[in-house]
Symmetry: C2
């Protein structure tokens, strides 16, 4: 593969396998697989999901909904609190497809009631412990208030309860991740029972995050799952124990532009504008902005033990490497940097190169 | 200003004033102002520099050189170690304009000697203490070796010594920043004397970073300066004591999509894909991903005391706000988030909205 500059290399076979596994698990669990497309943001990769039977998707912005609508998707939930300033765009999308919106306040529900001009489904966002958005699960009376406001609204109909267990990312083991899922499912069911007892009989439950959806075998306690990151996985998921090194499907090919053997570093063309500044704890209490591997015919080899991206500037990455690797490296060689958070890296790069040299562009590619 | 989604708002008057001040200082100091364009990456903003007499620029990639070449710039230094894998692009650019390249190894110099097909100027990168790239200033014999290799190379000619005092960002006061500049200038002169004594009579010195170029009044110890960030400044520069709040020229307008008064937070549409994950130490030992202000007719008001972006997801920002502000805020209002590192924010956003509603696009805008 001829690399000239930082290039996001996609191991298609791994990504397809990740998709197949999750799709098979959803079928086995009897839940809808509403895959989150914010990680890859690419129409062509979306087709790999379609080949696995996926028909409903999740996105994180109305612009992303619009992009995938233009590529034939007709059942899209925007898993982000409805932004009433974009009501014109919401109406255009609601007209064209089965649009799901997130509502968590009576204000937003009331606004939509007044301004929505086409049918849309409302999911009420529940906070099961991540403390980001949503109505706390133990305040079901607030959920009722929003659901009632939603139902009052002409073209808006109440669909169910949606959550994102973001605190799964703080778990210290697969057991803890499983516990987060069980707690999430039980809290969501608690809210559902409360609603059902008050007339909201048809209340679906939607959950979604890569750690719990990967680790838990049977997801049958809910109605739909919305994981996204699993298509590529990354170092965060690896560090959580959620995936193996061999399941990570993307790496940034970075040209070596300088060597500094006195400080065990190679400098690569590949910086914060390629990888993002997301980091994980690396060796020796350092921050790691990526792990590194050597390119191979099959993509890239195992992580170089002791190797990691130790600092980033806008375009530069400093890669700490053991002597025996650094010694054999030359300016003009390529290092493969496996990203900490593949969603942010893919969002920055906006295009993929598959191992057979095909280019796949994503939303927003210039 | 009608905001619908995260929008990078540019206070043109402040940016123009920042440019004018730096251009005037360069004239007064008798140094060339080779402004770094990696911060704004926009042809139209480049014109504001031209109006201040700037004719030579710095960029951080060959693609950026190509972009500005297409917008009429003819004297461009790529302040990044020459990436020999892009030799075809280097040759195209060298053919079309006065191209400056960074060289720091005999390997790269030898490669260019063999493959360069048009004239280009070589700057040798010197490390004066930032420990990122470059030949350490106290190893001038290595500089001589590279300079000799450069001069052997047909179309490549040795221009001078270039450094980036990145460690200025670790300074604790304006005095320390001044000290970094003085030390930088003296170390660069030390290397120059060494080269001059060995036949390299014409050796220019190029330095450039926003902290030293802003703080130091007379930059006459060097031949050219290459600051870039100063066009917008940001919270990093403010925290360093380099700029005032009123000199910061960009802020991201973010719609409020949810309120969580129990934890003193508003949730805005504005996340890591808009602001970048760069942070500074915020209040209470927290990380701050941005400070916040209210929009005004003149752009935005003073920072809300105690307000800051306390966490970021891909598209969400959690904004900590004092009660009296949060109480008056509604879903659909807009908060202005002043970024930690404007270079990374601008790189993500790829377009600006001026206060009079004009859109300015940057390189790579889709």
């Amino acid at each position: 593969m001829a690399i000239e500059k930082p290039t996001l290399v996609l191991h298609e076979q791994r990504a397809r396998r990740n998709i197949e596994k999750m799709a098979a698990k959803a079928v086995k669990s009897g839940v809808r697989f509403r895959a989150h497309f914010k990680t890859h943001q690419a129409a062509q990769i979306g087709e790999w999901f379609r080949e696995c039977g996926v028909e409903s998707i999740t996105v994180s912005s109305l612009d992303m909904a619009d992009y995938f609508a233009r590529h034939g998707w007709r059942d899209i939930t925007v898993a982000f609190p409805a932004n009433i300033l974009e009501i014109a765009k919401i109406n255009r999308l609601a007209e064209a497809l089965d649009l799901g919106l997130l509502v968590e306040s009576t204000e937003t529900a009331a606004f939509l009631a007044q301004h929505l001009t086409a049918k849309a489904a409302a999911w009420i966002k529940i906070d099961v412990g991540s403390l980001r958005t949503g109505i706390p699960w133990d305040q079901p009376e607030d959920v009722i208030a929003v659901a009632a406001e939603v139902e009052r609204a002409g073209p808006l109909s109440f669909r169910g309860l949606l959550t994102h267990a973001g605190h799964a990312y703080q778990a210290k083991s697969r057991q803890e991740i499983t516990k987060v899922y069980q707690e999430t499912a039980s809290r969501m069911q608690h809210v559902r029972h409360y609603l059902q007892a008050r007339g909201f009989q048809k209340t679906e439950i939607s959950v979604g995050d890569t750690p719990t959806c990967t680790v838990v075998e049977d997801l049958g306690d809910v109605d739909e799952i919305r994981p996204g990151n699993f298509v590529f996985y990354d170092l965060m998921q690896l560090q959580l124990g959620v995936c193996s090194e061999e399941e990570i499907a993307v790496a940034v090919a970075c040209p070596v532009v300088a060597k500094h053997e006195d400080r065990d570093e190679a400098i690569v063309y590949g910086g914060a504008v390629h990888l993002s500044r997301e980091s994980i704890p690396g060796p020796d209490e350092a921050q790691a902005f990526g792990y590194v591997a050597l390119p191979t015919q099959e993509g890239w080899g195992p992580f170089i033990q002791g190797g990691y991206v130790s600092s980033l500037s806008q375009e530069h990455g400093a890669v700490r490497l053991p002597d025996h690797v650094l010694g054999g490296l030359h300016v003009g060689d390529v290092l493969m940097v496996v990203p900490v958070h593949s969603c942010l890296t893919a969002n920055l790069m906006k295009a993929y190169r598959t191992l057979d040299g095909q280019t796949i562009t994503a939303m927003g590619a210039s």
